[in-house]
């Protein structure tokens, strides 16, 4: 059984239909990459899963339960974390406060905190600094750290490499590999080099429809398909 199933999901934003027919099966474990051009519907897919925009009709089934009608907070409590494209950092709060807010009972689990500070040592350095003063890469680290401060079954991550320096992207890839050992990641990405280094399974969305699903290995091997779906040069 898949961890997450999207069934004929359609989402309208105002009077515009953004997702027309999104059906997707995300298996448990590893990194599932959702690729697509600008405006194809990648972010809308993630926001619809989180209930920030309500899909209608269609359903979102997580661990066998239809969560499409639930409030965003209730969806999050089912074990889904969301790292939005703009990172969603609370700039006026310190690094510590950003993280403690995401804990279930306002207390850190020492083992998880230790894991996070090992993955992202910079967070320890800026522990008491307000988050607005962090660099773009550090903010992204904080956003990802916040998503894993509690055990989650699924993390939705929207374009984490956008605007980051190559060295930071490499560190981020390393962190994602480690996180994916225990948690499923649904990664939306335009940076194909980054995506292909991480993805086990993948899908391509275009004009609000899933136009391809399969293994990343096969997709990497098929240059013609890459060219056709993503306009990547062969």
């Amino acid at each position: 059984m898949s961890l997450l199933s999207l069934k004929s999901m359609r989402t309208n934003i105002g009077q515009y239909a953004v997702l027309h027919d999104v059906s997707l099966e995300v298996p448990e474990g590893g990194v599932f990459v959702l690729l697509g051009r600008n405006g194809a519907g990648k972010t809308t897919t993630l926001r619809s899963i989180m209930g920030l925009w309500k899909p209608s009709p269609g359903s979102v089934v997580f661990r066998g339960e239809d969560i499409s009608g639930l409030h965003t907070a209730d969806i999050a409590r089912k074990g889904i974390a969301f790292v939005p494209e703009n990172m969603g950092i609370f700039g006026g709060l310190t690094v510590e406060e950003n993280l403690i807010l995401a804990t279930a009972n306002g207390k850190f689990d020492p083992a998880r905190l230790d894991r996070i500070t090992t993955l992202f040592p910079a967070l320890k350095t800026f522990w008491t600094k307000q988050a607005w003063s962090l660099s773009g890469g550090q903010k992204q680290m904080l956003a990802v750290a916040r998503a894993i401060i509690e055990p989650r079954a699924l993390i939705l991550i929207d374009e984490p490499t956008k605007g980051l320096a190559p060295a930071i992207i490499d560190a981020m890839a390393e962190a994602f590999r480690e996180i994916a050992e225990t948690t499923t990641i649904l990664l939306v990405e335009q940076n194909f080099e980054f995506a292909k280094s991480l993805g086990r399974d993948m899908a391509v969305i275009d004009d609000g429809r899933i136009v391809h699903t399969g293994s990343m290995k096969d997709f990497i091997a098929n240059k013609a398909l890459q060219e056709k779906l993503l306009s990547l040069s062969a």
Binding site: L52, T72, A73, A76, G88, G92, L93, L101, G106
Partner: protein, 330 residues
């Protein structure tokens, strides 16, 4: 503008503005005794406006609700406190400070309870249907303010209502040739206590952390698993309760109140919220003190310019800092 910002930043930033205004006023006024009296009056007035405006700032910042009906709670607080004090007039005039204090505490508690209950009703019936619709929020809350004014007219009548003061808050302390009204000291101390209490709640509790985070990004707070809509109700009630307390204090300060009190205070309260920066308690305090001081200094030097001075202050601050003195969102 950048040069001014840099110089201010080096010596304490916007926190120095009230000090700068006070020093400037000292140079212009010349007479130290008048300056002290005006400064104390300005600080007391600022603290009472802070009580009225702090809740609105949080409501604005967290809920994105333009509540023009907020000052209705100021009016209700003032009239409920006035009625309670009138009912307990025997205690107020008694030669027993414990009874004096008890009457005052009961009057303030009655105003706060009226504000909390009114806030709950207002949020559930008037605000909830118009979330995310600013135009309808303005129309419906302006309408609610008019209705509230009419309810006050129907219950308390149109003639100004006298507000008795407890005996221990009457009179003034005379230090040299300076006279300081005791009520002003009390208003300042109460406002400062509320500011410290709010600061503790916002800075050191989980609910405070949620409010501060919600002011910045409501969606993200929900994505972390918190029902922020439930927090909205609590914040709205808190804001309304504080406004009612501010109204009660203002009633005691004026000693004569009319049903148009809320509408009269609305402009000043909104100026303070905008100048301070949305969602910021510290910004609201700074702006309220600035408005209080400026009102008293200008009222002394050029009485006709008192209200205009607030408008000019708002224009200058917004030209310099479009998001206010100390906005919650950096």
């Amino acid at each position: 503008m950048k040069a001014i910002t840099d110089i201010l930043g080096r010596y304490g930033g916007v926190n120095l503005l009230p000090v700068a205004v006070a020093v400037l006023a000292f140079l212009v006024i010349g007479a130290p005794s008048s300056w002290v009296t005006l400064t104390v009056a300005g600080l007391a007035m600022g603290m009472m406006i802070f009580l009225m405006a702090s809740g609105l700032s949080l409501i604005f910042g967290l809920m994105d609700v333009m509540n023009f009906g907020h000052s209705a709670f100021v009016s209700f607080g003032a009239f409920v406190a006035a009625s309670t004090l009138a009912a307990l007039s025997g205690w107020l005039g008694a030669d027993n400070i414990a009874l004096n204090i008890l009457a005052l505490v009961l009057a303030m508690a009655a105003a706060i309870v009226a504000g909390l209950a009114g806030g709950w009703f207002f949020e559930a019936v008037i605000i909830k249907p118009v979330y995310k619709d600013h135009l309808r929020q303005i129309l419906i809350t302006m309408g609610a303010l008019i209705v509230a004014e009419q309810i006050i007219l129907a219950v308390w009548g149109g003639t100004p209502t006298a507000v008795p003061r407890p005996a221990f808050l009457e009179g003034a302390w005379i230090i040299g040739d300076v006279s300081i009204e005791i009520y002003r000291i009390f208003a300042f101390a109460l406002g400062l206590s509320v500011y410290i209490a709010l600061g503790m709640v916002l800075g050191y509790t989980r609910v405070g952390l949620l409010i501060r985070a919600g002011v910045e990004n409501r969606e993200m707070v929900e994505s972390l698993g918190f029902r922020i809509d439930r927090l909205f109700i609590a914040v709205f009630m808190l804001g309304s309760g504080l406004a009612a307390l501010g109204g009660a204090m203002w009633a005691g300060y004026q000693t004569l109140i009319s049903p148009s009190l809320g509408a009269e205070m609305m402009i000043v309260v909104f100026i303070v919220v905008i100048v301070g920066g949305l969602g910021s308690i510290h910004g609201t305090l700074l702006a309220a003190i600035l408005v209080g001081l400026l009102n008293n200094y200008v009222g002394y030097l050029e009485p006709k310019m008192a209200l205009v001075s607030n408008m000019i202050l708002m224009m200058v601050i917004l030209l310099w800092r479009p998001n206010g003195l100390n906005p919650a969102i950096k």
